[in-house]
Symmetry: C2
Subunit: 225 residues, 2 copies
């Protein structure tokens, strides 16, 4: 019993496939695997010490998530968001953020508004400290709240998925000089509009916010080519 349980504790965090999805997604999102790189089933299976079956299913799911591309009888490859899609992806992201901001301004509960405001104010400390790592985490949370605030699960799903694909590029944006303070100021605008239930103002601010991130990220991507 203990043996079995132990094995589960180690292996479990959902099924093997779920783990594989998370693990491989992590490799991609953190940049440990470059776009265009091949993901062959056998190597991955060996690497994580499972058989090819869960690997295959994970790859299929990652394909659906857009993180890898597949063709029949060929290895899966890490999707190259860089190449053609970057601006398209950011545009989509901006549109989604705009929707979420507008709906959030209309629908957020009092608690949600207060929570957003509080966590935003708290983040000022991180800006002053210049703590990029912590601010990135805060930023993630901030936007997640916006997405949740729209109170529409399907939109939430779409925006989350899109964000996942853009993750590699967003990650490094705060390195650029002054981005932290700028980001904070932009958040401020969004928060203010939402607190006022100013749907159009929130929408505009959120759209602009992503556009700026987009430019910053494009610069970053160009640097690393």
């Amino acid at each position: 019993m203990t043996e079995k349980k132990k094995r589960k504790d180690v292996i479990r965090a959902g099924t093997t496939v779920e783990q594989m999805v998370r693990a491989v997604a992590d490799l991609i999102v953190t940049g440990q695997m470059q776009p265009g790189e091949r993901l062959d089933e056998l190597s991955l299976a060996a690497r994580f010490d499972v058989s090819r079956t869960p690997v295959r299913e994970a790859l299929r799911q990652l394909c659906a998530m857009g993180l890898v591309g597949r063709q029949p009888n060929r290895s899966a490859v890490v999707t190259n968001v860089t190449d053609s899609h970057l601006s398209v992806m950011f545009e989509a992201m901006a549109e989604l953020e705009r929707i979420c901001a507008r709906l959030s301004a209309e629908r957020m509960t009092v608690e949600e508004r207060r929570g957003l405001d509080l966590m935003h104010r708290a983040s000022m400390r991180l800006v002053h400290a210049g703590d990029q790592e912590a601010y990135a985490a805060h930023n993630m949370d901030f936007h997640t709240r916006l997405y949740r605030g729209a109170h529409n699960d399907h939109i939430f799903e779409m925006v989350t998925q899109t964000r996942a694909r853009l993750a590699p590029f967003r990650h490094a944006q705060f390195r650029l000089a002054g981005r932290l303070a700028k980001s904070y100021a932009e958040h401020q605008e969004i928060v203010t509009a939402i607190l006022r239930a100013d749907a159009e103002g929130a929408a505009r601010a959120a759209y602009a916010h992503v556009s700026i991130v987009s430019e910053a990220s494009t610069v970053f991507a160009a640097d690393h080519r």
Copy 2:
């Protein structure tokens, strides 16, 4: 050689998994499988005369598409879009259509605008004939052009996916009295705005159009409960 080729001709239309995805999606979308119904791997495998492996992978993909739900160690079940998600899905759809219409008004090429206008005009014949089947096909095409016109592949993908999930409900909407003519009139508004490059007008008209479809479909869904 001929033997092999023949086998391919029969089997081929992509890989086995792709076929399974299409086949099962069809079962769901056409209503041959009701929401909540269980999809057990063995039965499906037997039904389509393949092994469980491609069935499993197809189910995983269908899950990603949102057509079926899964839990570890349980059978996949046809997603019950009806229950809670219907209005949420339509709302998301409306937002996406709004974006597409706005971007289409801004970006469509001259040919795209002309094509949209022509096919819209041609559809008047179907309205007069009261040909629901043909009009449904036209409607599909019409909206697809709107999505393409946005010139953003990622948005196209999202909207296509969302539409797929709503397909079962959209299908029957034209049965309701007068829907054909109303739909045509609404399309007219969208087309007019796009031809004028009136982004906001197109956005507004498209949003309203989906909202009305939503109501019609909700009625339909309620009827069939």
